[in-house]
């Protein structure tokens, strides 16, 4: 009986473990699959002729002659729309006032919609904002914008609740000069924009154009690398020295116990506190830079990852067999020599793992860099400018694009592209840690 119960309990525990692991895996899938599939859409998508026009216009990339030929054909199809809009504008002026007043707001929306969809009409004055210089560069967005022209969104209110209704605009303009716009948009949208599968790997390295409407996330990726590398540059030497002190030099006692609990507390401090501390200490008190900078951000992040580096290094050092140390001592090596030539090399795989994991942490943190390093718009920072220049960074700009940006809904593909890139960078770092560890461990054994 008791044996049965024990077996049952045992099995229950195993089941719970499997369930927990399975739940975690499901959750990961649930989060990561959409991030990757949608993020992939920033790199590979159905690009329209407007995308190719933008690439030539902004980056000087692409086949100019081919684009010219393509544009000529596209413009021929679009001509119907442009002509109908111009003709209707004249017709509107001649209409009786009541009818003009009824149709004018809808016409304005259609005209605006056409300009958003296809870009400014050839010969029209150039818009001031780059985002208005080109039409829709992505096919799925173009179809959305075409629907905005074809249908008017209205709401039917009732006591039971309101209902969204899409009313076609065409009947309103039946028999006017504007009517061809609707038929030709419905029939020839593809011919007007020529969608084509487009691979855009340089999304990763291109600068952004007009607050991320076009271009890539190069400055953000670069900023993230600067910040996380900079954080390690500061945290690793400090962390390893601290770990060696704790493991090899310090005598256990109240003082060391106190220092240890300091490190543990540092690990538990919320990251936004680090951010505010970084602003108050590094920027406003020490003046390490005139304002926000990569340096100030890296220093703040270094504090954040310091406990991780210390703990990982301590564990690695503690795991070095005693015999190594005794052997070195027996051969007459001093304490420093033992640490430098025997213990640290043997502990290296563990230390490196800690370092790479902290780098992933530093790359993903947002709160510590809001006040110390991150900006929403900025050029790529040159290595010579890191001491004084703030930078965009993936984590912060992802937040900025999702909440603060004036056109959040227009930039979903950039947001997912950033998220996927950030997750991939962190995953790649973790993978590198695993491989590195395995490799060094093998070498040490051999």
């Amino acid at each position: 009986m008791r044996l049965k119960l024990r077996k049952l309990l045992d099995r229950a525990l195993t089941t719970c473990g499997y369930l927990a692991i399975g739940g975690m895996a499901l959750f990961l899938l649930w989060v990561l699959v959409p991030v990757f599939t949608k993020g992939f859409g920033a790199y590979v998508f159905r690009g329209t002729v407007e995308h190719r026009r933008m690439m030539v216009g902004e980056f000087g990339r692409g086949d100019l002659d081919r684009l010219r030929a393509e544009l000529a054909e596209v413009l021929r199809v679009r001509e119907t729309v442009y002509q109908a809009v111009a003709a209707f504008e004249r017709e509107l002026d001649a209409m009786p006032a009541a009818r003009r007043k009824a149709l004018k707001p809808a016409f304005r929306e259609v005209r605006e919609g056409v300009s958003v969809l296809l870009g400014p009409e050839p010969g029209a004055p150039m818009p001031a904002l780059t985002r208005r210089l080109y039409g829709q560069t992505r096919w799925e967005k173009a179809r959305e914008k075409a629907d905005d022209i074809l249908f008017e969104e209205t709401w039917v209110y009732s006591d039971a609740g309101s209902r969204r209704v899409l009313v076609p605009r065409a009947p309103q303009f039946e028999g006017t000069a504007l009517a061809p716009v609707f038929t030709s948009l419905e029939r020839d949208l593809a011919a007007m924009l020529r969608p084509r599968i487009t691979v855009y790997p340089r999304f990763l390295t291109d600068r952004s154009i007009d607050a991320h409407f076009f271009g890539g996330i190069g400055p953000e990726v670069l900023g993230t690398l600067y910040l996380s590398l900079g954080a390690l540059l500061v945290a690793v030497p400090l962390g390893i020295v601290a770990a060696v002190y704790f493991q090899e030099y310090a005598k256990e006692g109240p003082r060391v116990a106190f220092l240890r609990s300091c490190v543990n507390t540092l690990a538990g401090v919320p990251s936004v506190v680090f951010g505010l501390f970084g602003l108050a200490f590094f920027i406003n008190t020490l003046h390490v830079s005139p304002g926000k900078s990569v340096l100030a951000g890296a220093l703040t992040l270094a504090l954040l990852v310091l406990p991780t580096v210390i703990r990982a290094s301590e564990e690695a050092i503690a795991a070095v067999p005693r015999a190594y140390k005794e052997g070195a001592m027996a051969l007459g090596a001093g304490r420093f020599r033992t640490v430098a030539t025997v213990i640290l090399p043997a502990a290296l795989p563990g230390i490196l793992t800690g370092i790479v994991i902290s780098m992933g942490r530093a790359a993903g943190e947002t709160a510590p860099i809001i006040f110390t390093a991150a900006v929403s718009v900025g050029q790529m920072v040159k290595p010579s400018e890191v001491l004084s220049q703030p930078t965009p960074a993936l984590s912060w700009n992802l937040y900025n694009l999702c909440t603060e940006h004036e056109a959040v809904d227009e930039l979903r593909h950039v947001q997912f592209g950033m998220a996927a890139t950030l997750v991939l960078i962190v995953l790649a770092l973790n993978l590198a840690a695993i491989l590195l560890r395995a490799r060094i461990a093998r070498r040490l054994k051999g």
């Binding site: 609740g161 969204r164 929403s376 909440t403 603060e404 004036e406 056109a407 959040v408 809904d409």
Partner: protein, 273 residues
Amino acid sequence: MNQNVVMSVVLGISVVSAHAQGKLVMDGSTTVGPIAKAFAETYMRQNPGVNITVSESGSGNGAKALLNGTCDIANLSRHLKESEKKAMSEKGVKPVAHVVAFDALPVIVHPSNRVKGLTVDQIRDIYTGKITNWKEIGGGDQRIVVISRDTNSGTFETFKELVLGNDSKIVASAEYTGSNGGVRQRVQMTKGAIGYAGLGFVDRSVKALEVNGVVPSAESVIAKQYPISRELYMFTNGEPAADSLAAKLLSMSRTEKGREIIEEIGYVPVPGK
């Protein structure tokens, strides 16, 4: 054309090394943010080699950054408070206000809401908790979800001054959101919500209400009819030198291109001379 690009690149870099003017830091309001970002991008497009950075951390933080000397231009969607002016004069910072545009604060609701307009008094009653259900003011039977900007923002200060009056307290159940875009998204996703944001942030995903019978628009702001209107500022420490990057950027708001940019974003440019 290539020659031109090469020339401007060379020129840009030589300017940087000669006068160290290749860099400008802007911080502050999320309302002024789109203008600042567009100005920065336009300027950098014409002057490669220059790096202008823009942060959007709220008007309050913009004023603090100017006080601490950590930014060259502070974007504020309100004027400086007395306390800020005092702190600045104690630190020897001489704030100079530059009006870059006019803005209105449209009061926005979910498009499914049947209410078309409210009076300023009704809006005050909603935000102070006297009106809690849409059916009290002609809407459906739905609890009102009050969305406000955080108290660090200039948008909040404006709203408080022009709508609430200085002694009124916002209802405790109100949600505070850290940016204009955030307010818009929250309202767009919540059926009973009411919020307010700058003109440049309001699109078709939300419904802007008439206030005292006036539709918020560029026209009603210029005609001074819309009751919740304001000026948008950029502050510098002292008048910037005429050939400085800050002066050039600030003067953009008076150029034709700058005014077009402001208009295309959705704000109201300052009338020409």
